[in-house]
């Protein structure tokens, strides 16, 4: 008998019929002999409805009170799901964040979980109940309601799985797993059977929106086996797990893209110590997150500094940087909102050279100019003109052998792929 934490997102509990079908899934897992803990989000559209009410009251809502309002969405869901399980002659008890002491810090609207009291859940499981827990919400040390930020229910589920030492955490969503790329863009994209926590983190950070980043970090930290599954099919889904040797054999696990960034170049920056600090300090003060940064080699004592920010921060960032450019005696700024970042991710590239070069060749072969490059241990990202997004992603998907079915694990995929590509890795 295993202890399983299941999480159902907003579309999975989007209406009464779907809530009833989630109830049947929970009961099926229980009938299969498992202890079942279910985390649910607000019914789809509900959080937006509540945020609209808030916006009508004030455009600067008090964050503590905003959390009081938006936390109700999940509360409705847990009550309805518990009832739906009862209606099927099952046993279920719902718990609010506060009732299982999901204690968070007091950063309203994006609180972080500090501890969970597993005892009430264990007691209900021991009585044969399915335990239904409100996602997204917690309570701070002073007893105020807090919320974890959009997508926070994933984090609730993983944190519960860690606290209960669960055998698995299953994230049910409207897709049936993690894909080698966005299937809407790449028709040959294939569902992955497994992916490492680190790869999932990198994919999430470069735009693949299957799981909330924090939930993956949590799962990695506590080694919680994390399944991404569809609540509409019986597909086994994708397992997000620790890396093992067989997983290193795949050079690139997935290709992702992000069209949500914009580029700013500060031209002719006097190449003196502290210039970078003068540019990025004021951005940090405005809480603007800078992603890629590239500094050209200095020429005649001047250099160009280029960086990307989220499109939501684009206008504010321009204002800040324009002022800074003047102060430091730069010659001016250039901006470009029409860019995309394409990325390849895979733990296999840790042990293999030439991956970045192969990526650049694949893009070049399609005539795509690379504007910026950023690399990590298991990721290479290139900024290109936005119009090339689809072409670039598809080219990379093909170039790294992702159009073909994955080889059975244990077989060296890299050597096979190298053979396919007609070159040495």
């Amino acid at each position: 008998m295993a202890l399983i934490v299941q999480k159902y997102g907003g579309t999975s509990v989007g209406d009464v019929a779907r809530i009833k079908s989630v109830a049947l899934r929970c009961l099926a897992a229980q009938e299969a002999g498992h202890d079942v803990v279910v985390v649910v989000s607000a019914m789809s559209g509900e959080t937006n409805r509540l945020m609209k009410l808030v916006a009508q009251i004030t455009d600067r809502p008090d964050e503590r009170e905003q959390d009081v309002v938006v936390a109700t969405g999940e509360q409705v869901s847990i009550g309805l799901l518990a009832m739906a399980i009862h209606a099927q002659q099952g046993k279920a008890t719902s718990f609010l964040g506060q009732q299982v002491r999901i204690v968070t810090d007091s950063t309203f609207a994006k609180a972080r979980i500090k501890s969970i009291d597993a005892q009430p859940i264990r007691a209900a499981l021991a009585r044969g109940h399915i335990v239904v827990v409100a996602g997204f919400q917690g309570v701070d040390e002073s007893g105020s309601v807090t919320t974890l930020g959009r997508g926070g229910s994933d984090t609730t589920a993983v944190a519960l799985a860690a606290a209960l030492n669960a055998d698995a955490c299953e994230i049910y969503t409207d897709v049936d797993g993690v894909y080698t790329s966005d299937p809407n863009m790449v028709p040959s994209a294939r569902k992955l059977d497994r992916i490492t926590y680190e790869e999932m983190l990198e994919l999430a950070s470069v735009g693949a929106k299957v799981l909330q980043i924090r939930s993956v970090e949590f799962a990695m930290k506590y080694k919680v086996p994390l399944w991404v599954k569809s609540s509409f099919t019986d597909d086994p889904g994708t397992l997000v797990c620790e890396e093992d040797s067989s997983m290193e054999d795949v050079l690139v696990r997935g290709v992702a893209y992000d069209r949500n960034e914009a580029k700013i170049t500060v031209c002719g920056v006097p190449d003196v110590a502290g210039a970078a600090a003068k540019i990025f300090g004021p951005l940090d003060e405005k809480h603007i997150v800078v992603d890629l940064i590239v500094q050209n080699p200095s020429k005649d004592g001047r250099t160009d500094v280029t960086f990307t920010v989220g499109k939501a921060d684009f206008l504010t960032a321009q204002e800040v940087v324009r002022k800074v450019a003047e102060e430091i005696g730069a010659s001016g700024i250039e901006t470009d909102g029409d860019i995309a970042k394409v990325s390849i991710v895979g733990v296999g590239m840790r042990n293999h050279s030439g991956v970045a070069a192969r990526m650049f060749r694949a893009l070049s072969a399609e005539g795509i100019n690379i504007q910026m490059i950023s690399t990590s241990e298991i990721k290479v990202s290139c900024v290109v003109q936005a119009k090339y997004t689809e072409l670039a992603v598809r080219a990379l998907h093909t170039a790294f052998g992702l159009d073909q079915p994955m080889p059975p694990e244990g077989v060296s995929a890299v050597s096979e792929m190298a053979a396919l590509m007609g070159e040495k890795v």
Copy 2:
């Protein structure tokens, strides 16, 4: 400086504009120098919306889980109102039932308050905050969310006023006070300045829907001065308070009616000991509340037993009684759903005879046949054919001198009224 508990019902917080206007009222009370605690209901329509969701899940909802769902309505209201106060540069903190330990028994959907922890409220008041408390909800000993039943927010307000030893509890609603009768039915009905707790209880129990009965009982028990006021005007409203000698001078305070009952007669009941128990025991088992009961004098060893039940229970009651009638050898049952109960209420009738007789004369003068009669110390109720409701209520309103303005308190109203009526009391 006084401590005032204000309660705003669903229509008073029915939309964002009204919530903003409630915020201004709260701030005005604070600016007048008072400590202000505000209890709010769910926005009008919200509780019904939630109950509809529940009904779509199951027609026999688990009561614990139903309370989890419906308690969210008030939670949204407190967050929005606290935000609206903030938006006006005020200070406010919202509290859920659980956060101020409004501890109730575990009778979900109609829980009763056992205790309240005034400490968090006093602490927030001491910091200069307006305290916004969710009405209608509490928490049982095991930490489950409970609700107090429809209209329960009135009870929350009065219970808080008692726990805080408040100087006044103001119930804001969409009418500006308690009237001598339903103004929609009796154009000459007048707003009362004062009414005793007992009179208010009797009026509520016979169909006047201004306040929830339990909240009046609570106010009477803890001697909380209770104001009924309009949230749309500045009218001083009606004070519900303890009886003093001047209030006894008014014979009849108000005339009420209730069209929500139905009548069942068990005919030819063998007049043996225990017959009544055999009829009413099974009704009690089905939790059907019986209101008026009349038993005719026995004739030839048989008698007729007539009683009224709420219309919602009419069909079930008929089934139960038909079975019982057979078992006890009664000759059959007769039913009538087309009735109304009209009542006169006033503490003054305690010390004066002839009130009931005057009521019967007034009805008789209009040709209205009285089907059943019930009396208490301060109330007389008559069941009549439903079509006579308006006529009966208006006739009684006139007969007991309620069409005229109340005499100033302290002057003997009874003698004045007797003079008006041209008869001795």
